[in-house]
């Protein structure tokens, strides 16, 4: 299937994503410059991690106004699979494709660590190869991953099963100590109500091959491939 990885000025995980997709999963990948206005024919889009526009003003605030984002908005609106990783998640929030906003981590530190994350919802195009409740190990690397939203939105997010990943202990219990950044409700990953847009702070592309001693992230990409191949992607739903 055809993937597009958006490259913003300051993206630094774009090539990692492209590497995993092309060399590990044998996918057709195109790097798409943020100044382009068209995505072309794609099945899925990745907004990669990094520091787009130097995180000026707020993380993702400038990137969400990039010319390519009109095409990403339209792609998402018509059911295309969109995944935002780390800075990509921040961009999706700023773009309004996902609800809420990111605050600086509690403790103010840039956190670069491996954390345990619980799969809260395995019934999504992004997580169908995981088990519900499964604990996976994901690397995180961010200064602003402290998810926040208002109580009404949080209630809606919970009711719609939009919380996909939550920070947890190794045994799967979701505790305050297991929350690295102060994120509301330990939220590590969130989808939109329609279910075709996912944002997550952890980096699945950094744990998707045996060489790195952790392949937990590979199942996320494989889930998306499976979803598109079995008809949950844009091409099939749009016709």
């Amino acid at each position: 299937m055809k993937w597009g990885v958006i490259v913003f000025p300051g993206s630094n995980c774009d090539r990692d994503c492209a590497h995993v997709l092309a060399n590990v999963l044998d996918q057709d990948v195109t790097l798409i410059w943020h100044g382009d206005t068209s995505l072309g024919e794609l099945d899925a889009v990745v907004l990669p991690g990094g520091f787009s526009y130097g995180d000026y003003l707020r993380s993702g605030a400038i990137a969400q106004l990039s010319p390519i984002m009109h095409a990403v908005q339209e792609f998402a609106r018509t059911g295309g699979l969109v995944m935002g990783i780390c800075n990509g998640f921040q961009i999706l929030l700023e773009a309004g494709l996902l609800p809420g906003a990111m605050l600086p981590n509690v403790g103010l530190s840039f956190i670069c660590d491996d954390v345990c994350v619980k799969v809260e919802n395995a019934d999504t195009p992004f997580t169908r190869h995981y088990e519900s409740g499964q604990v996976i190990r994901f690397p995180i690397a961010h200064a602003e991953g402290n998810y926040h939203t208002d109580p009404v939105t949080l209630a809606a997010v919970r009711a719609n099963a939009q919380i996909v990943f939550r920070y947890c202990r190794a045994d799967g219990t979701v505790t305050e100590q297991a929350n690295p950044n102060g994120s509301l409700d330990n939220i590590a990953g969130l989808r939109n109500p329609a279910g075709n847009v996912l944002g997550l702070m952890p980096h699945p592309e950094r744990c998707a091959e045996a060489l790195l001693d952790n392949e937990d992230g590979q199942l996320l990409f494989r889930s998306m491939i499976d979803a598109v191949m079995t008809g949950q992607g844009k091409k099939q739903t749009a016709s």
Partner: protein, 88 residues
């Protein structure tokens, strides 16, 4: 010309880790009376126009769409009218 001074701050009730840390540092320095510190952003924008009504409408739109994230932040602005520079 109109110059706008804009303050963007975290909404009350939203934890401000920077402000909390600065408050603690000030107390460490001996400023025992510091009850709270909130950190925000200050922007100055110069607009090429003299109509305060139009300027305010533009500023509001700028704050809502880019300068502030209204999920977590609020904004205030004040306008200063400066005589236009006329080229002769």
């Amino acid at each position: 010309m109109i110059r706008a001074k804009i303050h963007v701050t975290l909404k009350s009730g939203i934890l401000d880790p920077q402000g909390r840390t600065i408050r603690q540092s000030l107390r460490t320095l001996g400023f025992a009376g510091v009850a709270d510190v909130r950190v925000g952003k200050f922007l100055e924008i110069e607009l090429n126009q003299d109509d305060p009504v139009e300027a305010e409408a533009q500023l509001k739109a700028m704050c809502e769409t880019l300068l502030a994230n209204t999920v977590i932040e609020e904004y205030q602005y004040e306008l200063e009218l400066h005589p236009s520079r006329h080229s002769s």
